[in-house]
């Protein structure tokens, strides 16, 4: 249309593009940081099955329904499942990753102080999903 000015639209587009880029870059950067596993992280194999969690430490020690770790150390979870899809969640440490049959997903964390925390399944996996819980014991080194 003659005499029509569209500069406000260009400003709008510029602001939206800048915001989206910034939001994407921030999220990408955090994802990169938290996926960067420390070299000395101890590997713990986590297996989900209806309806409990099994943990296997590097030295072969196995635990069912509870997990003992030391404060100040890094741990890398290799998470899988034997039957249906579960999701391994330590809510207090913002650890959350799907446990999928035939696939190993990894997530790492470094508990900083002793304490007791809940472990739970975060993907509906059947009748007793609500009680597919475990306990994380973070102990003094």
């Amino acid at each position: 249309m003659a005499g029509h000015s569209n500069w406000p639209e260009w400003i709008y587009i510029g602001i939206v593009v800048a915001l989206m880029t910034w939001v994407g870059a921030e999220a990408w950067e955090v994802e990169r940081l938290i996926e960067h596993v420390p070299a000395d992280a101890e590997i713990i194999k986590v297996t989900g099955q209806q309806w409990f969690w099994t943990f296997e430490h590097e030295d072969g020690t196995k635990e069912i329904g509870e997990l003992h770790v030391e404060a100040g150390k890094a741990y890398k979870f290799e998470v899988t499942a034997t039957d249906v899809i579960h999701s391994f969640n330590i809510h207090d440490y913002v650890v959350l990753i799907d446990a999928i049959p035939g696939r190993v997903n990894t997530v790492w964390f470094a508990p900083d102080e002793p304490g007791v925390h809940d472990i739970q399944c975060r993907e509906y996996c059947g009748l007793i999903h609500y009680n597919m819980r475990g306990t994380l014991y973070v102990e003094e080194p």
């Binding site: 260009w10 915001l19 999220a27 955090v30 960067h36 440490y93 470094a110």
Partner: protein
């Protein structure tokens, strides 16, 4: 004037995005450091919520203002050619 404004806006956008992209692409294969994922993830969440609520307030405020300003009964309302000039 318009071009100058667009140029400066583009420059500001580049000044914000280039360093952010640089940090991301600077990734190496070296092992990561110990970090508290709780802090990183929740901080990201709160930053994103700040952006979301700010954008939401600006967008809804603009819509509310437009509805108020361009209603037929506004004292300064002007008919457009589409509505006819016989007001």
């Amino acid at each position: 004037m318009k071009g100058l404004f667009g140029l400066s806006l583009t420059l500001v956008a580049l000044m914000i995005t280039i360093p952010a992209a640089g940090m991301v692409f600077a990734e190496t294969d070296e092992p990561g450091e110990y970090l508290d994922r709780r802090v990183l993830i929740w901080n990201l969440f709160f930053r994103m919520m700040t952006v979301a609520f700010t954008v939401g307030a600006v967008v809804s405020g603009t819509i509310i203002w437009q509805i108020w300003r361009f209603r037929e009964s506004h004292p300064k309302a002007k008919p457009t050619p589409y509505e006819g000039t016989d007001w």
